[in-house]
């Protein structure tokens, strides 16, 4: 059987910048593929090219046995895929139910199916209480949940999720996690990008890591970890594990107390003159012996002045 996703030398160039560089990706059917990488590595660009949102500069894409950029095959593939893109695909002026109905009708689902699935999805993703709100009034997390509901509604064979856990509360994140696991268990494929390595480690069967537009690793999760945690392997592969975390030059041990004193002092100002809490960072640090603005050892907030 063909893999769900296969790319051959997939490349995307922007003006003077190569975002994705000859990526050869293979995602088997029935796998939950986690696509990882640092910020700006090319994850979202890759997912956009795979889903027909952004045209590749060169290279081939094979999705469920067809080319998503071919006008005829593309529409067949879109019927079998669900996508939660990075910037979502919501209409500002439609409510959640209206949007789900629109997506259902685009996939030629019958009315009963649309109603039944919409009800279930809205309940599952805790959106049923805000059904009359327009998408423009939703918080980012709510928008993400609605986009996920829309992606799941047509019951696709292949799901693309770009950062599905970003901005979503812990309860819903767990619901999504379980949902994706069940989804893969019945033979569908999920391609997910995420910054939350713990979640990827917990749910993904396969992982691909991209850095600076180059696919540096793709294998099953077990193979990739080789006894380490995913975080360690990820840091090794993106080449930052051995580098010491740089420190800020002006941070020192004695500052925190003085800063705390400054905050207390300014809180008093706030109550009197509606001043907002003020940072001390712009003040020169005072010599260690000077205790004029420091908090007394007893912990009292009052100034010693």
């Amino acid at each position: 059987m063909n893999p769900a996703i296969r790319t051959n030398n997939l490349t995307k160039d922007f003006e003077g910048f190569r975002a994705v560089n000859q990526v050869n990706l293979t995602v088997e059917r029935g796998s939950l593929f986690g696509f990882l990488g640092p910020n700006g590595a090319g994850k979202s660009t890759t997912i956009k090219m795979l889903t027909g949102i952004l045209a590749p500069s060169s290279g081939d894409i094979d999705l469920l046995g067809g080319n998503p950029w071919d006008p005829v095959e593309g529409i067949k593939i879109k019927k079998q895929t669900g996508v939660v893109p990075e910037d979502l695909a919501l209409f500002d002026n439609l409510t959640a139910r209206e949007y789900l109905t629109f997506v259902g009708r685009m996939h030629l689902l019958d009315k009963t199916t649309i109603i039944q699935r919409s009800e279930e999805l809205l309940q599952l993703l805790k959106l049923e209480g805000v059904e009359k709100k327009l998408a423009v009034e939703y918080s980012h997390g709510m928008k993400k949940k609605l986009a996920l509901a829309a992606a799941l509604l047509p019951n696709p064979d292949l799901l693309f999720l770009d950062e599905p856990f970003e901005g979503v509360d812990a309860v819903t994140a767990r619901v999504i996690r379980d949902l994706l696991t069940n989804y893969v268990a019945r033979g569908s494929t999920v391609f997910v990008t995420s910054h939350v390595l713990e979640i990827v480690e917990r749910i993904c069967t396969h992982v691909g890591i991209i850095a600076n537009g180059i696919l540096v690793e793709q294998s099953s999760l077990e193979e990739l970890r080789k006894g380490n945690s995913l975080e360690q392997r990820f840091l090794q592969l993106v080449g930052t594990v051995d580098e010491p975390t740089p420190n800020l030059t002006w941070l020192d041990g004695g500052r925190s107390l003085r800063e705390a004193a400054g905050v207390f002092e300014n809180t008093a100002e706030l109550s009197g003159e509606n001043e907002l809490p003020r940072s001390d960072a712009h003040r020169p640090l005072e010599p260690p012996g000077d205790t004029k603005n420091s908090i007394p050892a007893s912990g009292s907030a009052e100034s010693t002045e």
Partner: protein, 619 residues
């Protein structure tokens, strides 16, 4: 807040503006620099013109002229100021208080900085030097008493800016809810348009009464001349004057009568001006912006007290307004604002609206129907489309007030079909802004179309169908109104009805083309381009301007031939107009179906580029 903060914030505003200008391209930088230079030249010139005008022209004028001049200046200032406010309401604030509050500056500092930024305004830059210059010039020309006009002008500016700031704060709180934001903008715009139409209606009424007066004067003149002729005839018969003097006496009587009537007209005009001045003074006394002209006039008459009281009162109102604004901002940011919570009711799924969601339109596929219904719904809720739909309303109001003023118009029967054609052209002109940028209002929603498993032809047809009820509906309503005042025969009316979809389809062909090749991202809540690209903007403007001339040609032929034949044979040719309109509709429909297949390919190839332009529009 200290000077360092202030300078830093000025720099921030400068960088924001520069980056915004740079982002729009090199040409935009040049245009912006030219605009700034022109603005500065205008501002400086306005100051000197004000001084010169005040010193030279106002030396010997009456107080009524001074009153009217200052009232015109105040009215012009307020009109331009309101237009600026409307534009400002539609765009995201460059620097709101919210963006400053996490910084170590006091709320009071942020508040006053935000208020002072409202002085950087075209109206203020253009009008203030002119008003100050005029005050100085009039002081030089008419005496030191008029120096009082300077505190009056500053008081007026303080009053307007503070009240506007208070209003802006109030509107900002209304517009916090993104759902009501658009409606608020649309309502404010409609109210503004209605207010600006009041002078037009007064003028129409005045024009009507002026015509009546002129007519009655002509009749009076004719009567006097007739009486004069009769008197001359009588005197000739009586032998008092010689028959050869007949001409001399008649012309003498006529010239005396003309002089007499001209004198009467002058007297009446003076009375009307005096009456109008009285009305204006009364209005000025009750409306605070009117205290400026009234104070200047009274100072000119030697009475300083109204001017002093007026400027003090304007400053006082301004201070109270600023105080209210400050405390409401304080309440808001300290979380002490009383807020009415809007309860969101959960309702069972089966509602009337949801039934509409599943409607399948006649002759349209399931997917075309879905695109049409949801795009229409989205369009009707989008504030930007409400703004565009106001245009036909304005045209309707202007046309309506003109027709009501005129009553039934006597147009030859063969030419009557041309008026509804003009109405169709004007309505399409208004709708073109939406039709020529069909994906712009979708913003991120366009991504849903890209991801949808449907033919791109269905997207285009659905989009065209979504706008059809608005375009065709407005046309039909306006044709109905025109039919009341300029009735045309039934067959011509039917033919005009067929013209509406025929013209709309032609607009759709062009609209699809421009939407595919020259899309524009649109900011939320306005029709302003988010990332203006010169070529797209030029194509859009030229398209909107030129389309009526080109796309109306078939209609003009279909209407022109019956008009010419009708004029030649002196017979009604409604049947011919109907026949030609039917043929036109059939041909256009065929062309639309053929062209949309080609447009489908173009849309497929360009949809990721369109998405790049219309989506990801910042708040």
């Amino acid at each position: 807040m200290n000077l360092t903060h202030f300078v830093a914030l000025i720099q921030l505003r400068y960088h924001l503006t520069c980056n915004q200008v740079k982002k729009a391209g090199k040409l935009n930088i040049v245009i912006s620099i030219l605009a700034i230079i022109c603005g500065l030249i205008c501002s400086v010139s306005a100051f000197f013109i004000g001084i010169l005008g005040g010193a030279v022209w106002f030396q010997d004028v009456s107080t009524t002229t001074i009153l009217i001049t200052w009232n015109v200046i105040v009215a012009a200032f307020l009109a331009m100021w309101t237009v600026g406010l409307l534009v400002e309401l539609q765009q995201t604030e460059l620097m709101s208080i919210d963006k400053l509050l996490h910084l170590p500056i006091s709320l009071r500092g942020a508040f006053f900085l935000n208020y002072s930024s409202s002085f950087v305004n075209t109206t203020i830059i253009l009008f203030t030097p002119m008003m100050i210059g005029l005050s100085l010039g009039m002081t030089l020309a008419r005496g030191w008493a008029l120096v009082l006009s300077i505190p009056l002008v500053t008081g007026f500016l303080f009053l307007v800016t503070t009240l506007t700031y208070q209003l802006r704060g109030w509107l900002a709180r209304i517009m916090e809810n993104k759902r009501t934001r658009g409606s608020a903008i649309a309502i404010i715009t409609i109210v503004f348009i209605m207010l600006t139409q009041i002078p037009n209606l007064i003028n129409l009424r005045y024009q009507g009464s002026r015509r009546e007066r002129e007519r009655s004067r002509e009749i009076q003149l004719e009567e006097i001349k007739e009486l004069g002729r009769m008197e001359v005839d009588a005197r000739i018969l009586a032998g008092e004057i010689q028959p050869e003097e007949n001409g001399y006496w008649i012309s003498e009587i006529e010239s005396r009568a003309t002089e007499q009537l001209a004198e009467q007209a002058r007297r009446e005009k003076d009375e009307r001006v005096a009456y109008a001045a009285g009305v204006v003074e009364t209005v000025d006394a009750y409306l605070p912006p009117g205290w400026l002209p009234l104070g200047v006039v009274r100072a000119d008459q030697g009475n300083w007290i109204p001017g002093l009281l007026g400027s003090a009162a304007m400053f006082a109102i301004g201070l109270v307004s600023l105080n209210i604004s400050y405390h409401s901002s304080l309440r808001k940011y300290m979380g002490m604002e009383r807020r009415r919570r809007r309860s969101v009711k959960t309702s069972p799924f089966k509602s009337k609206l949801d039934l509409f969601s599943y409607t399948r339109l006649p002759l349209a596929s399931e997917q075309v129907s879905a695109v049409a219904i949801f795009s229409f719904r989205s369009l009707m809720r989008a504030p930007e489309s409400k703004m565009v739909l106001i245009f036909p309303l304005i045209v309707g109001m202007l046309g309506g007030s003109f027709l009501i003023g005129k009553g039934k118009i006597d147009v030859p029967l063969v030419l009557r079909s041309w008026i509804p054609l003009g109405v169709i052209a004007m309505t399409m002109f208004g709708i073109a802004q939406i039709l020529f940028n069909q994906f712009g209002i979708d913003r991120d929603g366009f991504r849903a179309f890209v991801l949808s498993p449907i033919n791109r032809r269905d997207i285009l047809m659905g989009k065209n169908l979504a706008i059809a009820p608005l375009a065709i509906g407005i046309c039909l309503v306006m044709i109905f109104v025109v039919q009341i005042f300029v009735p045309q025969e039934f067959l011509s009316l039917l033919a005009t009805g067929l013209q509406v979809p025929a013209v709309y389809l032609l607009y759709c062909i062009l609209g699809n083309l421009i939407s595919i090749f020259f899309p524009m991202g649109i900011k939320r809540g306005s029709m302003q381009p988010a990332n203006p690209r010169l070529v797209s903007m030029l194509i859009m403007i030229v398209g909107i301007m030129v389309a009526p001339a080109i796309l109306m040609i078939p209609s003009m032929i279909a209407c022109g031939i019956p008009s010419i034949v009708g004029a030649a044979t002196d017979r009604s040719m409604g049947w011919l107009f109907l026949l030609l309109s039917s043929v036109q509709l059939a041909v256009v429909w065929g062309a639309y179906r053929k062209i949309i297949n080609q447009q489908e390919n173009w849309l497929w190839k360009r949809e990721s580029k369109i998405l790049d332009v219309v989506a990801n529009i910042p708040e």
